[in-house]
């Protein structure tokens, strides 16, 4: 369990289904049998609704969709590594339950009056799990590592703005910026501090530290069977005091349907749900529902249809707007997310201060779309139902990642709606890695259905600034608007929350007018946790259900009978 928002922006791929073609028939039979067998009400059903006092011990088992590539998330840059890393490593700062910054390793921090220098004071007596002291030298070392060109960290750019970092004594860490940088504190809340005495002088890409890390946080790695499970056990020397649950097991189960079977069989305690499971399948099984707590929280991410702005016809704002009007977002939310989504008009989580309340999502208005297309010179001259300009039909290819059923369905609905206004689209689904490497990075695509996972800071420089269009950088759609560039630069310099809010509201308005992509839906994060896990904060705080998960506990009578199949 992580209670830390993932650092900065990341490509959001979500589930990729495992391919088990040859076992298809067998698989169908097995799940059929399980579905038919009556679900016996466990003797614990009544006990589950009782509240017990907090007590240490027990094992919690969760499902994870993919095996992390290593334990150093800041280098790997993918969500599985970051999630596991969040149990092992601390940051200088963290977000509290109301998403305000609080100290984690740092006891106090101070931003100088000119906003260019930040001084962190570490808590006294910090130590790594092996008993060695954790000092500002470790923080300095981590900063050097992340900003090192040879490390190729996808998060380097924020930390490279630091012109000078120093650790004058074991408790003090000072960073200097050449100009004020508003997202600085957020960046120090997402830097996972690594032990210098283990990593100094090693090649970060080949070190076995990535497989056998030394931790400072609540848990430490006990066992990692690649592709099977990761076992974490309580770190008695945790810098924040011990957690309640003794052992966390992350089972790696790529197929959501298989995860759900394990949840039904009570082999896992928690998993992330898709809308169908949340809204239809679990409610249809009262016995299962009785032993689960289900959580629904608006995530900091959204799905979009993005255009390659460097290609025709997407360089014409009228075409982009027409497509925006031609797509019925509510239909996608109802059809694909079963209503578990929200239409948005700015690239921020709805309801937060950064989301511009004066903008409303583009309405579904095919007549307006047709009118805009006609203004742009597109009409159906040959009567084939597809509009064209100068004899060239308006036709393009929509790419999305294979195995993400929700995006595939979204693409199908979009295709259908665009056809109604005379736009021909082809859908192509590609394996995630291939989509990124062969199409997104070289900029070889017409349009994509993808998602953005966002950080808590409103700074979206890396997604929208015209300087961020290099291969592998996040502005792969080629958005270039000098006014937006200026707002993004301003936003990074401004520390006053009110003024910052105004800047990002203006920024959202510009995006809205330019329509460089069609916001489809901000989705909910859906989680199921077995009721044997108690102490979960209620109501769910803004920081999310897994906030303060070290306080969760599994009361003795509710624990699984431990039969270890070793």
């Amino acid at each position: 369990m992580t209670h830390r928002p993932l650092p900065g922006m990341h490509f959001n791929c979500t589930t990729a289904h495992a391919l088990a073609g040859q076992r298809l028939i067998l698989g169908l039979l097995c799940s059929g049998l399980i579905a038919c067998s009556p679900e016996s009400e466990g003797p614990q059903t009544a006990a589950l609704n009782q509240t017990y006092p907090a007590q240490p011990g027990g094992t919690m088992i969760s499902a994870m969709p993919s095996d992390p590539s290593g334990m150093i998330g800041m280098v790997a840059g993918e969500s599985a590594s970051l999630a596991i890393g969040a149990n092992l490593f601390n940051s200088l700062l963290k977000y509290d339950q109301h998403l305000d910054l609080a100290g984690e390793l740092a006891a106090a921090w101070q931003v100088a009056d000119d906003k260019k220098t930040i001084t962190f004071k570490l808590k006294p007596g910090l130590q790594w799990a092996d008993g060695k002291p954790l000092t500002s030298a470790d923080v300095l070392f981590t900063w050097q590592l992340i900003t090192d060109e040879k490390t190729h960290s996808p998060y380097a750019s924020d930390y490279q703005l630091v012109t000078k970092a120093e650790a004058p004594d074991a408790q003090t860490f000072i960073v200097h910026y050449s100009q004020p940088f508003a997202p600085a504190l957020e960046s120090w809340a997402s830097l996972q501090v690594l032990p210098k005495h283990k990593l100094a002088g090693q090649d970060i890409h080949t070190t076995n530290f990535a497989q056998k890390p030394l931790s400072s946080h609540y848990y430490q790695l006990k066992e990692w069977r690649h592709g099977e499970y990761i076992k974490l056990e309580k770190n008695p020397k945790s810098v924040l005091g011990p957690a309640n649950i003794d052992q966390l097991i992350e089972r790696i189960i790529p197929d959501p349907a298989a995860q759900f079977l394990e949840l039904m069989a009570d082999n896992i305690d928690s998993m992330t749900l898709d809308p169908i499971t949340y809204a239809r399948i679990i409610p249809s099984r009262p016995a299962l529902q009785a032993r689960l707590n289900q959580y629904k929280e608006l995530g900091n991410s959204y799905t979009y249809l993005g255009f390659n702005l460097k290609r025709k016809p997407f360089d014409d704002v009228r075409v982009r707007k027409a497509i925006n009007y031609a797509i019925d977002k509510q239909e996608i939310i109802d059809g694909v997310y079963l209503g578990l989504g929200i239409a948005i008009a700015s690239p921020y989580k709805p309801g937060t201060r950064w989301s511009n309340p004066h903008l409303t999502p583009y309405p579904f208005d095919p007549a307006k779309a047709k009118q805009l297309l006609a203004e742009a010179g597109y009409t159906d001259t040959n009567g084939d139902g597809i509009i064209e300009r100068n004899g060239k039909p308006l036709s393009f290819e929509v790419l999305t990642n294979l195995g993400n059923k929700q995006r595939e369905k979204t693409a199908v609905i979009i295709q259908r709606r665009l056809k109604e206004v005379g736009i021909d689209t082809r859908i192509r689904t590609l394996e995630w890695a291939s989509l990124l490497t062969n199409f997104i990075k070289p900029g070889d695509f017409d349009a994509v259905v993808m998602g953005w996972g966002l950080g808590l800071d409103p700074d979206q420089y890396s997604i929208w600034h015209s300087s961020q269009q290099g291969p592998g950088q996040f502005n792969f759609i080629g958005y270039n608007n000098p006014a937006v560039d200026q707002l993004l630069e301003q936003g990074r310099l401004e520390f006053d929350p009110q003024k910052r809010m105004q800047i990002y509201h203006d920024f959202a308005k510009r995006l809205y007018d330019d329509s460089p992509l069609v916001y489809l839906s901000a989705g909910y994060g859906l989680t199921a946790i077995h009721k044997r896990v108690q102490g979960i904060m209620h109501p769910v705080p803004p920081a999310g259900v897994s906030y303060d998960s070290q306080k969760w506990y599994i009361p003795e009578p509710l624990r699984r009978t431990q039969i270890q199949a070793e």
Partner: protein, 274 residues
């Protein structure tokens, strides 16, 4: 033909295939709905009078999609087998007629192709090219000609020893004439059986590929990708998995029965034992 109609296996197979073919051919006229019409208000409704086979995750009518999906599956089966048979017959004829190094080269090629698990080869090739019906048909065709080659070669090896072939060669007939006029017509019987069985396995392959998302691309329906959609909802929308599964089963069974029937009818040895 008479014998074929007396063979119960073949007749059952013919009937099953006939029904499926007829439904697929008539799809545009008998499908009650547009197979791609999304109805978000009617997601995952069970079979009813309105939707005989229920609706899928986007509210599309499964019966209509099954009918149109059948066209794709059968088309892929026929074209793929057409390609593999053409290649197989030509290579087999060359190997069997000319023997020597031609035979060696072709048969080693067959051995090489047979040593690669074809499903994985197809997966790799399709992933490399882009998935589409055309590519699926071509790739299946290009990877399943080996058994036809072996059959035709064996037939040719024995036919070229016969007197009538020797006679036509002695009369000065050119090679192509001997191959196409004399040998080929006499070696087609086992090929026919293998064509029919080949269609069955091509239909199965296409479904497998579409199931893995590497076959027919959305929104076009095929039995394989209806089944994939079904996998997601198998916990409560059984109709999405059952019907395409049954359709694949019936089609493959039909072709296999017909193939077995044909073999019984044409095989002189099985006739004598009867």
């Amino acid at each position: 033909m008479q014998k074929l109609l007396q063979n119960p296996l073949a007749v059952t197979g013919l009937c099953l295939i006939g029904i499926i073919l007829l439904l697929a051919l008539l799809a545009p006229w008998i499908a009650p709905y547009d197979p791609d019409a999304v109805q978000v208000k009617q997601i995952l409704i069970g079979p009813s009078a309105e939707h005989w086979m229920g609706t899928d995750g986007l509210g599309r009518d499964v019966w209509s999609r099954m009918l149109f999906g059948g066209r794709v599956s059968l088309l892929v089966g026929l074209v793929a087998v057409g390609i593999s048979t053409a290649i197989g017959v030509i290579l087999g004829a060359l190997a069997g007629y000319y023997r020597g190094w031609v035979d060696t080269v072709i048969m080693r090629l067959v051995d090489i192709m047979l040593s690669i698990p074809s499903f994985f080869l197809i997966l790799a090739v399709i992933a490399f090219l882009s998935p589409s019906i055309t590519n699926v048909m071509i790739v299946i065709g290009l990877t399943s000609w080996m058994s036809v080659t072996r059959l035709v070669r064996a037939e040719f090896l024995s036919l070229t020893q016969r007197e009538f072939v020797a006679a036509s060669t002695a009369l000065g007939a050119q090679d192509w004439r001997v191959i196409f006029k004399h040998c080929l017509p006499n070696s087609l019987t086992p090929v026919l059986v293998s064509v029919v069985l080949g269609i069955a396995s091509a239909v199965l392959l296409e479904s497998g590929l579409s199931f893995l998302g590497l076959g027919v691309q959305p929104p076009q329906a095929s039995w394989g990708n209806i089944l994939t959609d079904g996998k997601e909802y198998i916990q409560f929308a059984w109709w999405l998995s059952l019907y395409p599964g049954l359709a694949i089963l019936i089609t493959v069974l039909g072709y296999n029965l017909l193939g077995e029937g044909l073999r019984d009818v044409f095989d002189p040895r099985s006739n004598t034992t009867r």
